[in-house]
Every structure is written in structure tokens, then in C-alpha cells.
């Protein structure tokens, strides 16, 4: 995890990676098709405990979104690259208006005994504090107000 350290400016892309014990094809399928089953909605969502469903629509222009039981939807971004089993990329603006500056890219690379899944979040510093109140940025509101 986090083997790459960005040492320069605080604005450098955020990168995290993880190993999974399966082929790239399975990793890509489980990541996208199974998104709603593994994403930690309780801690990372606009609706928090109210949200029970999230998904990635599997095509360029498809939405990354969550939905509450009452049917309210919150878009998190739109798919800009759909290239199984190599890569998926989407814009990222949970709880905020459409924003094409922030992007999340997920690469699936073959490595010993499985696949390395690497996530790169660019222009994250554009995250609006406007999201405070949302669970996505709960930390921001909690931390910043006591700063």
C-alpha cells in the first residue's frame, strides 16, 4: 500500500495501490461491477448511513453515483476512460457541482500472483469545502473548525 511517496508539493497527485489475488480481468470486473458491494458507503458517501447503493455505469459518460432508499441520487463523477482490463478513469466531485478538474484513474497491472490496482487522484486540492456536511468531507469540517 502507498508504496510511492510523492515528496514534492502538497498538491501532488494522491496515489494508493493494493494487491489483489486475481487476474486483471477479474479485478477490473469486481472493481466496477461489484463497486456497490465493496465501496464503504457508511464512511464515504454524501448521504452517509442513508445511502445504501452506489454504482459505476460501465461506459464512457456513465455516472459514478450513490442512491438513497428514497431514490435520491448524488453524482460523484462521470466515466472518461473505460478500457477493460487496463484502466478506468472518472471525474470526481462527490457532493459538489460538476467539476472536470479532479480526476481519479485506476490502473490494473499484472504482478506476481495477481494484480496491482493503483489509484491516482489528481487535483484533489480543488475539493470544495462546500462538501462539508457530507460524509465525504466530514473530516474537513471537523478538523478545520477546530484548527
Amino acid at each position: 500500500m502507498g508504496k510511492e511517496k510523492e515528496t514534492n508539493a502538497t498538491h501532488a497527485p494522491i496515489r494508493q495501490s493494493v494487491h489483489v489475488d486475481c487476474t486483471r480481468e477479474d479485478a477490473f470486473r469486481l472493481f466496477t461491477e461489484g463497486f456497490g458491494e465493496w465501496w464503504p458507503l457508511a464512511s464515504s458517501s454524501v448521504g452517509g448511513n442513508d445511502s445504501k447503493f452506489c454504482a459505476i455505469e460501465p461506459w464512457v459518460g456513465g455516472k459514478v453515483f450513490e442512491r438513497t432508499p428514497s431514490g435520491e441520487e448524488h453524482d460523484w463523477g462521470s466515466v472518461t476512460v473505460w478500457d477493460p482490463p487496463d484502466r478506468i478513469e472518472f471525474t470526481w466531485h462527490p457532493g459538489e457541482p460538476e467539476d472536470h478538474d479532479q480526476t481519479v484513474r485506476v490502473d490494473f497491472q499484472v504482478e506476481a500472483d495477481g494484480t496491482r490496482v493503483t489509484l491516482t487522484h489528481r487535483n484533489w486540492h480543488g475539493s470544495g469545502v462546500a462538501t462539508c456536511g457530507s460524509h465525504f468531507a466530514r473530516f474537513v469540517s471537523e478538523q478545520l473548525v477546530v484548527a
Binding site: I14, V20, C22, G34, W38, P40, S43, G128, A130, L144
Partner: protein, 117 residues
């Protein structure tokens, strides 16, 4: 202190400052509020330690407190780390279940229908 972030204009000021340092005049031009109102919001943000003031010659620039940015970075970093760990756990479980079910008909998940938006 909670008040510092409760106001939508102040949230917008912070969003603008995330793009780079700015003067009161520049901010006022980009907001539907007066210069004095912007100054007042900046004072609140300054006293909450969210924003710093820096003088360059005769101009006063306001910028985000870098500590806030470092904290935001740490927060987003840990969000993705937690998410990827959850994904890895899910993938391991799915592959193990899949192995057990080998020979049986694999349950297929319905594709999400294309939503009209």
C-alpha cells in the same frame, strides 16, 4: 468556530482560495457580495486559522493555511486507502466463493439498466 464553515459565501471563498492566493478585490469580483462583506468573511476565516494573510508590497493576499491543505490531503489519502483495502477484501472473498462454486452455475449479477437522466 463551527460558524466559520457554516456560511455558503465563506465556503465559496475557501473554494476560490484553493485555486490560489487572492486579494479582497479579486474575490469580491468573483462573488455576488461587496468588498466589505468579503473582508468580513476573510476575518472570520483568519480567526479560525483557515486562511492566512500575506503582504506583497502594497497588496494584501489571502491564501489557505497550508496546514489545512495537508490535513485535507491526509484525509483523502486515507479515504482511498480504506476504499482499496475494502476492495481487496471483497475481491479475495469473491474469488474464494467463486472457487467453491466451481462446477455450479455462477450466480450472475444483473447489469444495471441504463438510466434515463
Amino acid at each position: 468556530m463551527l460558524g466559520a464553515l457554516s456560511d455558503p459565501t465563506r465556503q465559496t471563498v475557501l473554494d476560490l482560495l484553493r485555486q490560489g492566493p487572492s486579494t479582497v478585490g479579486d474575490l469580491a469580483n468573483r462573488l455576488p457580495v461587496s468588498r466589505p462583506a468579503v473582508s468580513q468573511h476573510l476575518n472570520v476565516l483568519k480567526s479560525a486559522d483557515l486562511v492566512e494573510e500575506e503582504r506583497q508590497g502594497t497588496r494584501h493576499y489571502f491564501r489557505l493555511n497550508p496546514k489545512s491543505l495537508a490535513e485535507l490531503r491526509a484525509h483523502i489519502d486515507s479515504m482511498w486507502r480504506d476504499a482499496l483495502n475494502a476492495f481487496s477484501d471483497f475481491a479475495s472473498k469473491e474469488m474464494a466463493d467463486h472457487g467453491k462454486r466451481k462446477g455450479n452455475k455462477r450466480n450472475t449479477r444483473a447489469n444495471p439498466a441504463k438510466r434515463s437522466r
